[in-house]
């Protein structure tokens, strides 16, 4: 049994101290130790994007990340975006455009969309489609998801 490693990080705005096994994935830490089950386990190898989170504002597959590497960093999950005022237009657009079918890919889609909009505030279809390449929707509901993100980009730009 490996010994635990002490880390401190900020998770969804809350400074957090944790002792984690070094081989644990960031996804397992979030879901099993912190109870943040909004982040989903899809493929476990970085192909599907269901486990997407933001680390220091940049999107990553949490299934590929080692939890010990959270040390000193700022982590945002779908639970953080759920109460993020700046993401109101994004969440609303997913609802209004019907960008949700079974819902399993939705947390990853929303988190990756947040990153796409942060990088491209005026994102159009091309930026959105390329930005979401790493997120699979098993219902194949891509059209409405892409529409939702483009709508959110327009709503954000109008609000500014």
């Amino acid at each position: 049994m490996s010994s635990l490693v002490e880390i401190s990080c900020v998770v969804n705005g809350t400074p957090t101290r944790l002792a984690v096994p070094p081989e644990t994935s960031a996804l397992a830490l979030l879901r099993d130790h912190l109870g943040l089950s909004g982040t989903k386990y899809g493929c476990g190898e970085g192909e599907c994007g269901a486990c997407t989170i933001l680390v220091d504002g940049v999107s990553v597959n949490s299934c590929l990340m080692f939890a010990v590497d959270f040390d000193g960093r700022t982590v945002t999950t779908i639970e953080g975006l759920a109460v993020d005022r700046a993401s109101d237009p994004l969440r609303q657009a997913f609802v209004e455009k019907g960008g949700v079918q079974c819902g399993f890919c939705t947390p990853g889609m929303v988190v990756q969309s947040r990153h796409v909009l942060d990088k491209h505030p005026n994102a159009g279809p091309d930026e959105v489609k390329r930005g979401l390449e790493g997120n699979l929707c098993r219902c194949t509901g891509y059209k409405k998801i892409v529409e939702a993100v483009i709508t959110a980009a327009a709503a954000q730009s109008a609000a500014e």
């Binding site: 490996s2 597959n61 590497d69 390449e133």
Partner: protein, 284 residues
């Protein structure tokens, strides 16, 4: 699974090299290859898990004395978006744009892509045609190894277990350099290439010199196409030379059948894609 006895995340290169000295450490950078390989049982943890991500000098991008040095920790998205890299070695930035997904590009590093030594690694073909050298450091010294001599088999290289890749060093391309990278797979994103081709040469007065051709996913290691280069070196790119080069390339690659493509199909792809690349160079 072997248990990790110690986790280290040093802030200095010397500390990292000291930890590596016994050859008992698993190196962690982006994690995008390490985690799936551990989960699939393809690699086992060594007693020390060495996270090198806290070492600032491994992130440096420097241009000087006719070369660009790209730190091992530079991520694939940084290759794509860093204006210094895009200006100095556009071929590398272009290849980065074809790499996996945004999330993986945010994590994965150029040093990791080289260390992992996949025959299909997306940065390796452009690094080969750009005459990159792999900068290696250990507690006992430093050395640099040309990319063309670095790989020894799938997942294997001349890097010793006590050595760390610190950077990739590339000569700045000369004036009138033309370069291309093409990758063929079943979808643009997240696909491991069925084949990839890199091409670079000086095009002056209609003739090619300093020709470099490299192929990915058509042999045990990413390979230079030496016979194809010989056909093109000093030649004027006309239809006959393009046809001869494409046929030579088709003959010199050594692909296998796997789930992504048959060996026969890969040879056809190499023939047709190289012809297309060379025709495209002529038409510009």
């Amino acid at each position: 699974m072997t248990a990790i006895e110690r986790y280290l995340a040093p802030a200095g290169l010397d500390d990292a090299l000291a930890a590596l000295a016994g050859g008992n450490a698993t190196i962690l950078a982006g994690g995008t290859d390490l985690m799936p390989q551990i989960n699939a049982g393809k690699v086992a943890f060594r007693p020390i898990l060495l996270n090198i991500r806290r070492i600032p000098e491994l992130r440096a991008v420097e241009v000087g004395q006719g070369r660009i040095s790209i730190g091992a920790l530079v991520t694939i998205n940084e290759l794509k978006d860093n204006p210094v890299i895009a200006k100095a070695v556009p071929l590398l930035a272009e290849a980065a744009d074809h790499f996996a997904s945004d999330q993986v590009r945010n994590m994965g590093t150029i040093g990791g892509n080289v260390a992992n030594a996949s025959p299909a690694g997306d940065t390796l073909v452009p690094l080969l045609v750009l005459d990159a050298e792999v900068e290696l450091a250990s507690a006992t010294g430093r050395r640099s190894v040309p990319m063309a001599e670095f790989f020894t088999g799938p997942g294997r290289s001349v890097r010793r277990p006590d050595e760390l890749i610190t950077a990739l060093s590339l000569p700045l391309p000369r004036l009138r350099t033309v370069s291309r990278f093409v990758k063929f797979g079943t979808r643009p994103a997240l696909d491991i290439s069925a084949v990839s081709i890199g091409f670079s040469a000086t095009l002056d007065g209609g003739r090619l010199s300093d020709v470099r051709v490299a192929f990915g996913a058509v042999g045990p290691v990413p390979m230079r196409g030496r016979a194809t280069e010989a056909v093109l070196e000093g030649a004027a790119l006309d239809a006959a030379i393009i046809a001869k080069a494409a046929a030579t390339a088709q003959g010199e690659v050594k692909p296998i059948d796997d789930l992504r493509a048959s060996a026969w199909y890969r040879r056809e792809l190499i023939h047709n894609l190289l012809g297309k690349v060379l025709s495209d160079v002529v038409s510009r």
